[in-house]
Amino acid sequence: MYRYIVRRLIAYVPVLIGVSLLIFVVLRVLPGDVAMVIVGQGGEGTITENALESVRAQLGLNKPLPLQYLEWLGRFVTLDLGRSLHNGEPVTALIGRSMPATMELTLLTAVMSLLIAVPLGVVSAIRQETWLDYTLRVISIAGIAAPNFWVGLLLILGLLFVFHWFPPLGYSSFVEDPASNLQKLVWPALAMGASFAAFLSRMTRSCVLEVLSQDYIRTAWSKGLRERQVVFHHALKNALLPVVTLLGVQVALLLGGAVVMEKMFAIPGLGLALVDGIHHRDYPVVQGIIVLFSMIVLTVNLLVDLTYAWLDPRIRYL
């Protein structure tokens, strides 16, 4: 098992390097002259050759590219993420401030989508090829098609026209005021969770179907056990295993969705900071958050791989 862990960790190093190269190329090389952007913020009159040169020297932009990359990498490894071009706040502080909201939103979404998807998927599987199954399947396909921001809009519309109530926007800390916090976060979590649940319910359905066709389930039926016992006690645990591990891998989707939801519901999390940073062309902030996101996704993928190997010993020898 330890050898597998080590092998996995070693395999991740080139991926990390690839990620850093990709971010460096996209955010440093592509935009062209960052100096022009920075100097240009002072207005038309300040763009002089001297100003550009001094900014370039300051940022180290006149050094050869590979050297720039290594310096940039070195700064990231020492967690020096720079300061926001917009208000000078250290990027690490911005991230620390914004992270709780995003983490809570993502967690709440995952929980809600599981709560919706698993019962739907199980019912759809045990009542396979009935009208109930077809209806649920069409709903889940439609749910996958509907973009999460549209579901959010429809949710707000529904609340407005049925309950005459606009959901509160923004964010309040969980430790200070849990009721207000949940009130604000439940709506974006529901909107994101609904579209995610559509996908999860299809997965659950196919996993449960696969497990139900196994021999040990047939044994349980022939023993005369009631449906509830067969499904919940025997089948469900094995069927849910791939679903839960898939949830871990889908954290990338959840983070992407969080970006949109935070913009829509004005939640001051990492996603909103990213979008605002892009609007302001605030490269240090954008870089820092993107690197953080990819670190999170890679770490979760690694943990999921390791959990899978721990639970299913056959994988360790791949």
Binding site: V15, G18, L30, A145, P147
Partner: protein, 297 residues
């Protein structure tokens, strides 16, 4: 098979060149009604996009300041937005943008990704491992985040949206093509071709490539749906094609905030259009997967 004999006779006649594919399509549609529905939706969308200038009575860019926020009615079929622009025309023209961006970005991304996957899978070895790691790195980003990062780098325009989505699609297509290429390149007939001295280009193009097409096609329709979703999301965040381009996502962004209470139609119709389009391509992809599944042949 309960085929109509008259139809079959017609299919074999000289005009059969037209009839035979049509009859084939009808048979497939009967076997896979959901896929046929998806195909129908997409067909309608394509027609709407191409015939937009004919179908739309009003200019989608014209701001009629005397009729802002009109509800759907006889004068404005789907209402107007806060600038007085006709929503029906905007949604029709939005179909153009979505289809154009969706199809072109998948085409570009598939060419690049397909080429990478083909050679990586066919040649194998250390090149394959290195390429795989880099593709894994690209796939470790949430797709929206990667597209956003590229848009930051390139700036706001329709072309850049296409490039951004194409880059997002490259690793996914590469992975699928590589999987097929890997297995095909190890078959005996490829080995035989190699043994009699076929050049690499021939091995790849004549032998490996055709066998990679089927799984790729299944992915491609889902990829177009995905591309349209990313384009809409970029538009929603205000970072996609610049205004006043009629993008469905941008329309949904404009529908929120203070207008959602007074003008719900702004939020409902572009969303329906977008969902239908994504729905259609997903259904088509599902049906293609079922048809092309080698286990069912």
């Amino acid at each position: 098979m309960n085929t109509n004999a008259a139809v079959d006779r017609a299919a074999l006649s000289p005009s059969g060149a037209v009839m035979r594919p049509l009859v084939g399509l009808l048979h497939m549609a009967r076997r896979k009604p959901l896929g046929a529905a998806g195909g129908l939706v997409i067909g309608l969308m394509v027609i709407a996009a191409i015939a937009a200038p004919l179908l739309a009575q009003r200019d989608p860019y014209f701001m009629d300041h005397s009729h802002p926020l009109q509800p759907p009615g006889l004068q404005f079929l789907l209402g107007t937005d806060n600038f007085g622009r006709d929503m029906f025309s905007r949604i029709l023209y939005g179909a153009r943008v979505s289809l154009f961006v969706g199809l072109l970005s998948v085409a570009v991304g598939s060419s690049a990704g397909g080429a990478i996957g083909l050679f990586s899978g066919h040649l194998g070895g250390r090149l394959d491992i290195v390429v795989q790691r880099f593709l894994d790195a690209m796939m470790s980003f949430p797709t929206i985040v990667l597209a956003l990062a590229i848009m930051v780098g390139l700036g706001s325009s329709v072309t850049n949206v296409i490039i951004a989505i194409a880059i997002v699609e490259i690793p996914r297509v590469a992975r699928i093509v590589r999987a097929s290429a890997l297995s095909v390149s190890r078959t005996e007939y490829v080995e035989a071709a190699r043994a009699i001295g076929a050049p690499l280009s021939r091995l790849v193009l004549v032998h490996t490539l055709p066998n990679c097409v089927a799984p790729y096609l299944v992915y491609a329709s889902a990829a177009v749906a995905h591309a349209m979703l990313i384009e809409a999301t970029l538009g929603f965040l205000g970072l996609g094609s610049p205004p006043p381009t009629p993008s469905w996502g941008a329309m949904l962004a404009g529908a929120g905030g203070e207008f959602v209470e007074v003008a719900p139609w702004l939020a409902i119709f572009p969303g329906i259009a977008l969902s239908l389009a994504i729905f259609g391509f997903n259904l088509l992809g599902d049906a293609l997967r079922d048809i092309l599944d080698p286990r069912l042949r």
